[in-house]
C-alpha cells in the first residue's frame, strides 16, 4: 500500500496526535491493525499509562501462599510488589518500596516472614504493612515521628478461583465485572478442582512486544499448522489441521479463547470426575469432558492453556498460565506457571509436569518456535518504515461468518477455531482503553 500522507515519527508526536493517528490507522472491526503498534516506544509509553496502570493484572495463585507469613515478590505494571499472607491470614499486595527513602524492601522471590527490614536504614515493617521499628527513633526523631503515616503502600487486589489479580487503579471496575462472562471459561481451568501451582514460575525474556503473545493465544490457532508443524511429525498430535476443529469465542473487555473439541479421549485424570462434577455446571462439565485443548488470553497479558498431547505413547494434559510482562517496547519477560489438580495422583502430576516442560516451558517444543516468530515480528515492526507505509495485517478471517448459537457457554462463539474474531475483539478493547 502506498503512503497517503507523510507522517512525523510517532516519537515526535504528542499523546493526542498519537491517539488520533491510531484511530485513523487502526480499525479493528475491519481487521486493520497497524504493525507499528508492535514495536513503538511511544505506543508502549501510552500503554503503560492507559492500560497497565488501569486494568486488573495477574499476580499469582493462592496456592503459592499456603501459610500465614508466606510472601512472593511479583511485578504489577512494572512495579515490584510483595504479595503476602499476613499474620491474620489476609493476602495483601504492598508496593515493594520502603516509605522512608524508596529502597526496595524485599529482594527474594519467595519466603516466609513476619517483618520486612529495609536494607538502607533498617526501617522495619510487619506483614500487615505497618511501620514498627525505626533505628534510634528517639535519638533522631524525638517524639515527632508519626509511624502510622508511613505504612507500606498497598495495591488493590481481588481474586477469582484462587487467581489473584491486582491493580494500581484507585477506582477499578470490580474484578467480577471485568471478568464478566469469561468466568464461565476460567472455571474450566481453575474452578474444575482445587488447583495448585506446582513449583515457582519459569521466567525468561523474549525481545518482542507483549501483544504478540496475547494475540497468539487469544485467537491464533491458524499458525499451529506451520509454526508447530514439527509436533505432527513427532506424532504428538494426529494431523496438521488438529487445531482447526472446535470453537473460538470472545467476551467484552478483550478476553477470548479457543476450545479444541471434540476429543475421543478424556484429557484429565478419571478419578477426579466427581470433583469436577461438584464444581462445574452440567454444561461446563460437558465441555470439559470433550476438550482436546484450550488456549486463550485474559486481557491484557495473561494467557492460559490446557494442552493434551501424546508423549511416549501416552496421552497427558497440562494446564499452564503465562504473563507476557512488558519490560520495554520490544522486550517482555515471560512468566509461566504450571498448574495441576491438588488431588491428582503423584504419577499424573509428574507426567503432566514433564509434558508441560517438554511443550510449553522455555525449552518447550511448541514454545520455542513461537518465540522465534514473536521476535522477528517485533524486529520488522520497529521504526519509521512500518509507520510510514502503514503496514498492517488484515484480519479478515471469520468476518463474514455468523456466530453459532449451538454452544452452551456465553460470549460470541464461532464453530471453527481458524478465525480472527478474537484478535479483533482484543484490539478493539485495546484501542478503547488507549482512547480513555
Amino acid at each position: 500500500m502506498m503512503i497517503k500522507h507523510a507522517l512525523p515519527p510517532l516519537e515526535k508526536m504528542d499523546s493526542e496526535d498519537i491517539i488520533q493517528h491510531l484511530n485513523d490507522a487502526m480499525l479493528p472491526d475491519e481487521g486493520k491493525i497497524p504493525t507499528y503498534i508492535m514495536g513503538s516506544p511511544s505506543i508502549h509509553q501510552l500503554e503503560k499509562e492507559k492500560i497497565f496502570t488501569k486494568t486488573w493484572l495477574f499476580l499469582g495463585h493462592e496456592s503459592e501462599l499456603p501459610n500465614n507469613g508466606d510472601f512472593i515478590t511479583r511485578d504489577l505494571a512494572g512495579y515490584s510488589i510483595i504479595l503476602n499472607k499476613d499474620k491474620n491470614g489476609t493476602i495483601r499486595a504492598f508496593y515493594n518500596m520502603c516509605t522512608h527513602r524508596g529502597m526496595k524492601l524485599c529482594r527474594a522471590d519467595k519466603g516466609n516472614k513476619t517483618h520486612f527490614t529495609c536494607p538502607y536504614h533498617g526501617f522495619t515493617f510487619d506483614n500487615t504493612g505497618e511501620l514498627k521499628g525505626v533505628p534510634l527513633q528517639k535519638d533522631i526523631y524525638g517524639d515527632a515521628l508519626d509511624k502510622s503515616t508511613m505504612a507500606l503502600h498497598e495495591a488493590t487486589i481481588d481474586s477469582y478461583q484462587g487467581c489473584i489479580f491486582g491493580t494500581w487503579n484507585p477506582e477499578p471496575e470490580p474484578l467480577s465485572d471485568y471478568l464478566g462472562d469469561f468466568k464461565w471459561y476460567w472455571d474450566l481451568l481453575f474452578g474444575r478442582a482445587e488447583m495448585e501451582a506446582a513449583g515457582p514460575p519459569q521466567r525468561y525474556v523474549i525481545n518482542a512486544d507483549w501483544k504478540i503473545g496475547s494475540d497468539n493465544f487469544v485467537g491464533d490457532s491458524y499458525h499451529t499448522m506451520v509454526t508447530h508443524g514439527s509436533i505432527v511429525k513427532l506424532g504428538m498430535v494426529p494431523s496438521s489441521k488438529y487445531s482447526k476443529k472446535g470453537y473460538q469465542l470472545h467476551t467484552p473487555h478483550g478476553h477470548g479463547c479457543n476450545i479444541g473439541m471434540p476429543n475421543p479421549d478424556f484429557a484429565f485424570e478419571e478419578h477426579l470426575v466427581p470433583e469436577f462434577k461438584r464444581n462445574l455446571s452440567d454444561e461446563q462439565f460437558d465441555v470439559l469432558s470433550n476438550i482436546k485443548n484450550i488456549n486463550g488470553t485474559l486481557f491484557p497479558n495473561l494467557s492460559f492453556l490446557i494442552s493434551h498431547t501424546e508423549i511416549k505413547g501416552k496421552l497427558i494434559s497440562n494446564t499452564s498460565v503465562r504473563l507476557w510482562n512488558p519490560i520495554g517496547h520490544d522486550k517482555m519477560e515471560v512468566i509461566t506457571w504450571f498448574f495441576v489438580e491438588k488431588e491428582a495422583s503423584a504419577d499424573w502430576k509428574e507426567r503432566s509436569r514433564e509434558s508441560f516442560i517438554l511443550t510449553f516451558s522455555p525449552s518447550g517444543i511448541f514454545e520455542q518456535d513461537d518465540t522465534e516468530v514473536f521476535t522477528d515480528i517485533t524486529n520488522v515492526g520497529r521504526g519509521l518504515v512500518p509507520q510510514q507505509k502503514a503496514l498492517h495485517y488484515t484480519l479478515k478471517m471469520g468476518m463474514n461468518r455468523t456466530p453459532t448459537t449451538n454452544f452452551p457457554g456465553p460470549g460470541t462463539v464461532y464453530d471453527d477455531k481458524f478465525t480472527e474474531a478474537n484478535q479483533r475483539n482484543f484490539y478493539k478493547y485495546w484501542l478503547e482503553l488507549m482512547n480513555s
Partner: protein
C-alpha cells in the same frame, strides 16, 4: 591416589566434556545423543532468589529441562524436521567448559563430575548475543568401554533466563 592418576582421570572427563561441546556446537546431534546413557536424567532446575543464604537456591519442583532418554530423542528428532523454526537456521553456539572437578570416581563404573559452562549463542543477523552461564553436576556410567552421561544437572546463573528459548542443549 597419585597426582598422575588424578590428572589422568580429570583429563579424561575434561576431554569428554570438550568433545561433547564440539559435537553440540557443530550441530552433530545424533553423535551427541550417542553419548547419553539409557538411564539419562537431563535436568535444569529453575533458579530462584532466596532470602539470605537459604539453600538450595534453585527449585526442586520446576525445571527448564526435565528429560529422559526418550524425550531427549524427541528433541533431537524435532530438530531434523523442516519445522524446527527456533533453530532454522541453527544458532551459532560456542560452549566453554572449565573448572572441571571429578568429585567421585569408581574405575570403569561411575563418576561424578562438576564443571562450569558458558554458552555463547548468536542467532541469524541479530548483532546481540545470548550468554547462558551455569554449573553442571554430571554423573557418568561406564558402558561398553566408554563413559556415558547418565545424569546432567545444570544450575543456570540467571533467575530470568536471557535467551528467547532453550532450543539448544545445555
Amino acid at each position: 591416589m597419585s597426582i598422575t592418576k588424578a590428572a589422568e582421570i580429570k583429563y579424561q572427563f575434561e576431554n569428554w566434556l570438550i568433545q561433547e561441546a564440539k559435537l553440540l556446537d557443530r550441530i552433530e546431534f545424533d553423535n551427541w545423543y550417542e553419548l547419553m546413557h539409557s538411564d539419562l536424567q537431563y535436568l535444569m532446575p529453575v533458579r530462584v532468589n532466596k532470602e539470605g543464604n537459604e539453600r538450595p537456591d534453585y527449585s526442586t519442583e520446576m525445571f527448564a529441562f526435565q528429560d529422559d532418554i526418550d524425550t531427549l530423542k524427541m528433541r533431537v528428532e524435532r530438530l531434523k524436521t523442516d519445522y524446527a523454526w527456533a533453530e532454522l537456521p541453527p544458532s551459532r553456539t560456542r560452549r566453554f567448559v572449565s573448572n572441571v572437578d571429578v568429585l567421585e570416581y569408581e574405575e570403569n563404573n561411575y563418576a561424578l563430575v562438576e564443571s562450569y559452562l558458558l554458552i555463547y549463542r548468536s542467532r541469524t543477523d541479530d548483532i546481540h548475543h545470548d550468554l547462558i552461564s551455569g554449573e553442571r553436576r554430571d554423573e557418568f556410567k561406564y558402558e561398553d568401554g566408554s563413559w556415558k552421561l547418565s545424569k546432567r544437572f545444570f544450575i543456570v546463573d540467571q533467575t530470568t533466563i536471557n535467551t528467547r528459548n532453550l532450543a539448544i542443549f545445555v
